[in-house]
């Protein structure tokens, strides 16, 4: 009796609630927000009221302590309707809240988490730089201790949730010195939005996640108190890897939810659209596409839930998180592709919901570690012997 696929009653109610919410509050306006490339403070607040920020955070800091399976069901259900809102939610949680929750000291947690968990404020995670993407350890942004302050110089790029009206703080990965082995010492520092010397500006013209906020950050002699260091000095690289492990679960959830949404649209369309005097779903080539979509989604779902179950039970989940991220995002890519195909010419039009899934799928194969990087992580985890440079992308 130890293998159990039944969701708990709370998880069922949660899924139902978030699905209703996404259908009623997000679906009617998400196409327009996508078209206008507009971030919605209102929807973010509403997701906050629902308690979707901080599902893995303890009640003491304003979370709901529901765990990873529940968190991932929430992201999945939002992504089923809209990738952009799911991105706001997933990044807000996995990249914004998580590092502060897992590595912050008591004071930092008490100060930031309640505001972040209520959805009134967003935190972002500043890792990627123009010249440090997949090679995240190659950050060049520096932080130098000057008396009681860190002085930060450098820039970050593609940072989700970093420059909205309600963006409150960025966890910035900085080079804070040299390690004994000659490598850069990396540390994460909390930099509140609005700190002099810190500019954040939105990056426009995205193909994906158009209603999610992405910013470019510039630090010019930006000073923050010494106490803004997150965890210990030199722990930045480890914190980053661990944050990305959790983040991968939420990217996977976006793949799963997005695939589900595109599949449902395709199934409905195939049962309604008639050509050659019958519904197109009655043609075997269309029916088989739908069968494959359903099968892949089911496989993706249980791989992801398994990875979340490991996380909830405090077991190692690095390999499974990478596998789930890779598989769910590639499943969404294939499913969205076939969903557009089944819609024929209409699938290419904005009026028909599926083109958005087709675009959004691509991000999932790039963000929080590209598909290639996931394969490196998995290869290392399963014991393939590699070069030294692998330690730059995987846990040592």
């Amino acid at each position: 009796m130890s293998l159990c696929f039944e969701l708990s009653e709370e998880q069922k109610i949660l899924r139902e609630t978030v699905r209703n919410f996404a259908e009623k509050e997000i679906r009617p306006i998400c196409q327009e927000l996508d078209e206008k490339e507009e971030f919605s403070v209102e929807l973010t607040r509403k997701m906050g009221e629902l308690g979707l920020f901080g599902p893995f955070v303890s009640e003491k800091y304003g979370g709901s302590n529901m765990g990873y399976v529940s968190y991932i069901i929430a992201v999945e259900e939002i992504a089923r309707v809209d990738g952009s809102q799911a991105a706001t939610l997933a990044a807000g949680n996995s990249l914004g809240i998580a590092p502060i929750y897992y590595f912050g000291n008591e004071e930092q947690k008490r100060y930031w988490l309640p505001k972040l968990c209520s959805g009134e404020m967003l935190a972002s995670f500043g890792l990627t730089e123009p010249n440090a993407g997949s090679d995240a350890g190659a950050s060049r942004t520096t932080a130098v201790l000057d008396g009681n302050e860190w002085v930060i110089n450098g820039s970050k790029i593609f940072i989700t949730n970093s420059c909205t009206e309600i963006s409150g703080v960025c966890v910035v990965q900085c080079v804070t010195g040299k390690r004994p082995d000659g490598k850069n010492e990396l540390s994460c520092i909390l930099v509140p939005n609005g700190t002099p010397g810190f500019t954040a500006r939105p990056m426009k013209g995205k193909m994906v996640w158009r209603a999610s906020n992405t910013g470019e950050l510039i630090f010019e002699d930006c000073r923050v108190p010494k106490e803004n260091l997150l965890g210990k000095r030199g722990d930045g690289f480890h914190q980053m890897l661990s944050t990305l492990d959790g983040g991968r679960l939420s990217i996977a959830a976006m793949g799963l939810g997005g695939a589900q949404g595109a599949y449902e649209a395709a199934l409905k369309y195939a049962n309604e659209r008639e050509q050659f005097g019958r519904t197109i779903g009655s043609f075997q080539s269309v029916a088989f596409k739908l069968a494959d979509m359903a099968m892949e989604i089911e496989a993706a779902r249980w791989l992801l839930y398994y990875a979340c179950w490991l996380a909830d039970n405090n077991r190692p989940f690095v390999k499974e998180a990478a596998m789930a991220k890779l598989y769910c995002s590639e499943v969404m890519h294939r499913v969205a592709n076939q969903a557009v195909q089944i819609h024929g010419g209409y699938g290419l039009m904005k009026e028909f919901f599926v083109e958005k899934y087709y675009r959004n799928a691509k991000l999932l194969e790039i963000g929080e570690g590209t598909s290639e990087i996931q394969r490196i992580v998995i290869a290392r985890q399963i014991g393939v012997k590699g070069g030294d440079w692998w330690t730059g992308v995987t846990k040592q």
């Binding site: 009653e9 709370e10 109610i13 609630t17 629902l50 308690g51 009640e59 529901m66």
Partner: protein, 265 residues
């Protein structure tokens, strides 16, 4: 202020409803169930009153099979304080009278100032349980309210009903039964913390024996009416597109069809 909300679990409005092969019952297999939408307004109103008054309890009372627990928990997650579940096979399959009798018996033993029901359940569409409940409890009852105001002294309520062409305003002494309809409020979503709290709230199962009723008084056996059969509405035929090159021609063809085919003019 102790407020009771009668809540029913019903099939989702989008569910495809079919009778069983012998047409005497509904085939519920594979169907998704939700809180009856009018009952959601009832729950929301009860919560708002409790929040406004600043004290009291909101108790959910549900008659239904085991699966109804999920809907009860959802109402608890919205913020209701506790629940009573009339959970006995003997209660099932009853008409409005039998259902109201069981509910009344359960509610009798409880403390209440206000009882809310939904205007009707969207599955059987009877719209009778609230009133009959009022009769059994010997309370005034008002159907289909769209506004509820509690008096200063909390001893009466001023409520509004939508009637043909306008609004009717009534004053009712409490306790009383009110049935809620669309327009009363916008129900909240249960929040994640609410869902977690709901797990720990009291949900009391009640059996036939607990109410001091016998089998002949409730459920199918205690009903004054019996369902003979269910049937699906006739399948609607395909629509017809009226042909014609100009609006005038189309109008002429339409008139012709209405006269000759539909024979309505």
């Amino acid at each position: 202020m102790d407020i009771i909300v009668c809540l029913k679990q019903v099939p989702d409005t989008e569910a495809e409803i079919r009778p069983t092969p012998d047409n005497t019952e509904i085939n519920y297999e594979g169907i998704k169930f939700v809180i009856n939408v009018y009952d959601e307004y009832a729950v929301e109103e009860a919560l708002r009153i409790r929040e406004k008054v600043g004290e009291g309890t909101v108790t959910i009372v549900t008659l239904g099979p085991e699966r109804a627990v999920e809907s009860i928990r959802t109402a608890l997650a919205m913020g209701a304080d506790k629940a009573v579940h009339l959970d006995d096979a003997a209660f099932l399959g009853g008409d409005a009278n039998a259902t109201a009798r069981a509910l009344a018996k359960a509610i009798e033993a409880m403390s209440y100032d206000i009882i809310f029901c939904g205007k009707q359940a969207i599955d059987d569409d009877l719209a009778q349980v609230g009133n009959i409940l009022g009769e059994f409890l010997n309370l005034p009852s008002v159907t289909g309210i769209v506004k509820f105001d509690l008096s200063e002294d909390k001893k009466k309520a001023t409520v509004q009903r939508q009637i043909e062409g306008g609004i009717e305003v009534l004053e009712v002494p409490l306790p009383a039964v009110f049935t809620a309809t669309k327009g009363l409020n916008e129900p909240r979503y249960p929040s994640l913390p609410g869902i977690m709290k709901a797990k720990k709230k009291e949900l009391k199962p009640v059996k036939l024996g607990d109410l001091g009723l016998n089998e002949g008084e409730v459920g199918k056996k205690g009903s004054l009416t019996q369902v003979l059969k269910y049937s699906l509405p006739p399948v609607r035929g395909a629509g017809k597109i009226v042909q014609g090159d100009t609006p005038e021609e189309k109008a002429a063809n339409l008139a012709k069809l209405l006269r000759e085919e539909a024979k309505v003019i």
